[in-house]
Symmetry: C2
Subunit: 659 residues, 2 copies
């Protein structure tokens, strides 16, 4: 069988693939990311690459403009090499921008540290070290070594105790020195030892016993396994401070951008194992990065607390995830028992424990439990709403009295998929947009200041808000070409109008950043789904939006959102802006709180147990609410008085999108 | 290096050894047992073999008579081959008799079934199977698979629950069938499953989940790991009955007959591992025997409950045992946590649990805890004494109110060591002796009816009792040659008198069965040590022997003892014979009770905790009591009124030793 050498720019990575393999296969082989959001299902059109040298075969006109085809663009999942190739991965398909932010930059570390960094009342880590100076046995007190140790541990950490056989086997040697004595040796007592004690379900377990006092070498890893990003914090359990933070893209992105396409990939032979390995490898990479920067031994990490959505946690643990996507949406487990991290392949202390933040259900995961915990909403008398806006939007409503939650399949529009110029928040992504003047002028910023390539979620929301206020779209989301004829162009294929947000010739970017009528419709459906979910919860408990005293925005997406833009398009309810609070990465903050106090861990289990999950998939009222919400901001404008006011004022001059 | 071929008769087993290896090494290599009680330390003189062909080198006159040397006898541990050899292992050095009894014969199985076969109030095995027909998940009840199962288990078995990751991973497939559907497959619910649930410390653990109803396939192994014998019972946990029983010699005998010589062996390089492997292999052999006879799969055995003395349990678990022999006599552990049987190499269900009966201390082990449990003495208002007579004699005194225990290093005389013609209860061992007429005539029986070769413990006690009553020894244990001049002979080496109990020419045995003055002194010291231990406990709690309402005799040795002989020599206290009760193998009976009820298992832990251990090794009063007890029956004859009566009557005709 013929083989071809494929070299990828700008990384200059090379691989050899057999004839018949797609260019996407080759990229995976070479470990080059090409933004295949749909996982090679030929749906998203995001695996755009440019053929610099050589020939490919296959249909590749979908999702590409005539101009792009002329410039050598193909979709990597749709073409197979027929010669050796030199391939360029253009900026919009790369991970670089984000990756740089993730691992090292201050910006990301600041973000990662944000949120509910409220220290628990008292430091009582789930894995704690205790130093003892155990008294030497005597004839009056010949208590066995194991019992002598466990009795001392019990005084510091009451409750049932377990200890592995290997530790008992070694204990006499840890508690004594061997003294060589001519041909023989002699035991010499030295009871100064440090015991590391962790929590396993309702039992404490002695994880290791070391000679001397090592109580200051005790670390834990807080983990947020996101569908897109994996974040890890290295926490010093002896004092409760965060020593280092790191993040990287979830390598499973190669297998699909959303949970359902990954579960589908897991159905293929070897697929589940590949997904499991990918995420474990990501965490391993983060651990390596953290221990090197913090000068900590992997063996000094005694626990991992993993938050994440239900599917991601299933992949991390290697659990069957297929039933999550099928009605009635049954996870394998929502409270997996604490287990050895080594059992899933994480290289911390050999007996170190992996704790999973308890999940509510298939579509309300451990990240939400952690967020609810971090927000403190279950401790408060004030009615609060918590939103995590993503491909799945999770919404929680509650207070000390009750907690209800639901999940809406919003679609990936805010993640950059299903929108022509949508992209992740990587290099060149427009993250904020302001409109000026009646023939609208647009000012945009990108996440890293480089020329604009496309729009990430926050940019899309700003753009839609501005287009609505400027009348470029009407409240049904329909283009009003007459309002800004100069900014519309015709699609070269079908002649349909496209709104040019930023023209390449003005911005210096590689292409015009545009929005099509279909793009707007996708965005409206996405925001409609999330609003309808919120609406459903509010109606189900018989309160009004006005009674909501706090709106928490969780997730990495959250703290770059412009609240006013979100209210303008009807994504968020129209409550006073001062009631909104960004939690930052509340998943990791919650995981840290649980790590630093086993009482808080118990509380997380109680929170999980008290959350009432509402399934919207089969709720006819939800469908009606969704239909009503597929307007800008809503069919019932009275729900959005401030937007009504702005829309009424819109004829009278420039209105910044974020005003 | 030269090598020699050594062939052993009667087994006809052959091996090749390097020059310089002893004949005992060769025997171990060839897997031939040669009765090396001391483990090759040149102390016991029991590794007697006969050189039929070939030459050996080395000192070998110790322990052997001139006649024996002429007939080719050597001690295997003291000679090295210098040519190829043909070696005969004589009956007194073989294991055959006992082995036959142990594994198959009705006699042994009857013994093994004996004792405290009191069914617990209610059957509640430590590992139990539960069949469930779990309802299919719906949109109204999308509880995760794991939580659905654990909720059902919790209803049957309240308390905290653990479950391993692997089971959660497999659960969706156990709870559903896969239905092939053209190119794909489909899940189909089938909630009928059986969960196996065991107890681990204070937590229950789901050990496995199987499709369908397998509740009747649940077995446990009760184990008594004795220094000499290993006994195993296969118990049907679904109904509480014992399906099969088996026993074999402890293969560690090769490394020494008593606990201390084995611990010494463990100090040598590789020694501890060899002892651990030997006992694990013994248990494996018993398991194989049991599952074949009972037609049970190894995977259907879900637990092992192991009783035994502290050192044996340490060897089974691979724990450091060295400190047991050194003051202040500290075990590695007295309550080892339940652990996977696979972790020590036992081939039952992969997640099956090995439970250890809690031990009181270094010299009062789990066999005693089990015996106390089996006797029920801790539940009774009546004051009871429990004795386990062996190389270490363990004594327990108590009632519902209190429990005290101690251990006396009695020495191995009753096991056959340190007595010229002493031997184990194997083929040709005299197990009972009766004296008739004034010039005493002796009638003896052997364990298997074959011609007498030596004396096992019960025979020795009967012999000493008869010699005392007939005046052949005085109360100080000194030979009274004039009383039976015809039965004494002179030692061919030193001219010292030897009492010929059974002459070879009368019995047809291979040698005269004799007792020397030194033999009698060893026996007196042994019984004195045990009586003094009993005496110490009685004195320490301020009661009198007369208040003891029950005397339990534990251990395999127990139920062949003649109580009257024991009282005559002052081994057992002089209380009415109807107060004595043989418990049979109370260790295994206790282990079974614990296996069949986790409440009883908890009770065993409570019993262990309430026993007060008295260390005699450093007790000056004990030494004085021991000195007083080194008389027949005691310096203070008033403690033994019935013996005083018999001794007074002894001039008036024949007195059967056991009368």
């Amino acid at each position: 069988m013929a083989h071809f050498r494929i070299r990828f720019l700008p990384d200059n990575l090379e691989t050899t693939v057999a004839a018949g393999k797609t260019l996407l296969d080759a990229a995976r082989e070479a470990n080059v990311y090409v933004g295949a959001i749909c996982g090679g299902e030929r749906i998203c059109g995001k695996c755009r690459v440019i053929i610099r040298e050589g020939e490919v075969e296959g249909e590749s006109t979908e999702f590409l403009t005539r101009d792009e085809i002329r410039r050598g663009y193909v979709l990597a999942c749709q073409v197979v090499p027929i010669t050796d190739l030199l391939v360029e991965v253009p900026p919009e398909s790369r991970l670089t921008g984000y990756k740089g932010i993730g691992v090292d930059s201050e910006q990301f570390r600041d973000f990662a540290h944000r949120g509910a960094e409220r220290p628990p009342a008292a430091l009582a880590p789930i894995v704690e070290k205790y130093f003892f100076d155990l008294p030497e046995p005597t004839l009056d007190d010949p208590t066995a070594d194991q019992e002598r140790l466990l009795e001392a541990v019990s005084k510091r950490r009451p409750g049932p105790l377990q200890m592995g056989l290997k530790i008992t086997r070694e204990l006499p040697r840890v508690l004594r020195r061997h003294e060589a004595k001519r041909t023989s040796w002699k035991w010499k007592w030295d009871g100064r030892v440090t015991a590391t004690v962790g929590m396993r379900a309702d039992v404490n377990e002695v994880l290791c016993v070391e000679s001397g006092n090592t109580a200051d070498r005790n670390f834990g890893l807080a983990l947020d396994v996101g569908t897109t990003t994996v974040v890890a914090h290295l926490v010093d359990l002896s004092c409760g401070t965060t020593r280092e933070a790191a993040a990287k893209y979830n390598s499973q992105l190669e297998f699909g951008a959303d949970v359902v396409s990954r579960i589908n990939h897991a159905r293929q032979p070897g697929g589940a194992e590949a997904l499991h390995r990918a995420i474990v490898q990501d965490v391993e990479t983060l651990i390596e990065d953290l221990v090197q920067r913090a000068h900590v031994g992997r063996g000094d990490i005694h626990c991992v607390v993993a938050a994440g959505n239900t599917a991601m946690l299933h992949f991390l643990l290697g659990l069957e995830a297929d039933l999550i996507r099928l009605s009635p949406f049954v996870p394998s487990a929502t409270s997996p028992p604490p287990l050895r991290a080594a059992e899933v392949g994480l290289g911390i202390h050999p007996r170190g424990i992996l704790y999973t933040v308890p999940m509510v259900g298939s579509y309300v995961g451990g990240d939400i439990t952690a967020g609810v915990l971090g927000s403190g909403m279950c401790d408060s008398e004030r009615l609060a709403l918590l939103l995590d806006i993503g491909t799945n939007g999770e919404v929680v409503l509650g207070s000390r009295e009750f907690t209800v939650a639901c999940s809406a399949s919003a679609g990936p529009a805010f993640e950059g998929a299903s929108v022509s110029c949508g992209m992740r928040a990587t290099s060149g992504a427009i993250d904020s947009v302001r409109f000026f003047q009646r023939e609208p002028m647009v000012a945009a910023t990108t996440v890293d200041g480089s020329p604009p390539v496309g729009l990430c979620g926050t940019g899309l929301i700003d753009a839609l808000s501005g287009m609505l206020l400027e009348g470029v779209v009407d409240r049904a989301g329909r283009f009003q070409v007459a309002r800004a004829r100069g900014r519309f162009r015709e699609n070269e294929e079908d002649g349909q109008p496209e709104f040019v947000l930023v023209a390449a010739k003005e911005s210096g970017g590689p292409r015009d950043v545009i929005l099509t009528q279909a793009d707007v419709e996708n965005l409206v459906r996405t925001k409609g789904a999330i609003y309808a979910a919120t609406d459903s919860l509010v109606q189900s408990v018989g309160v009004s939006f006005g009674q909501i005293e706090r709106v928490y925005i969780a997730g990495a997406f959250g703290n770059r959102l412009d609240i006013a833009s979100c209210v303008n398009i009807g994504l968020l309810p129209d409550v006073p802006v001062e009631r909104f609070e960004f939690l930052g990465n509340s998943a990791i903050a919650g995981a840290k709180m649980m790590m630093l106090s086993h009482h808080t861990f118990d509380e997380a289990r109680r929170i999980r147990d008290r959350v009432t999950y509402q399934e919207l998939m089969v709720d006819q009222a939800y469908m009606e609410r969704f239909t009503s919400a597929c307007f800008l901001p809503h069919t019932d404008l009275s729900r959005f008085p401030s937007v009504a006011h702005r829309l009424g004022a819109h004829g009278s001059g420039s209105v910044p999108a974020g005003a």
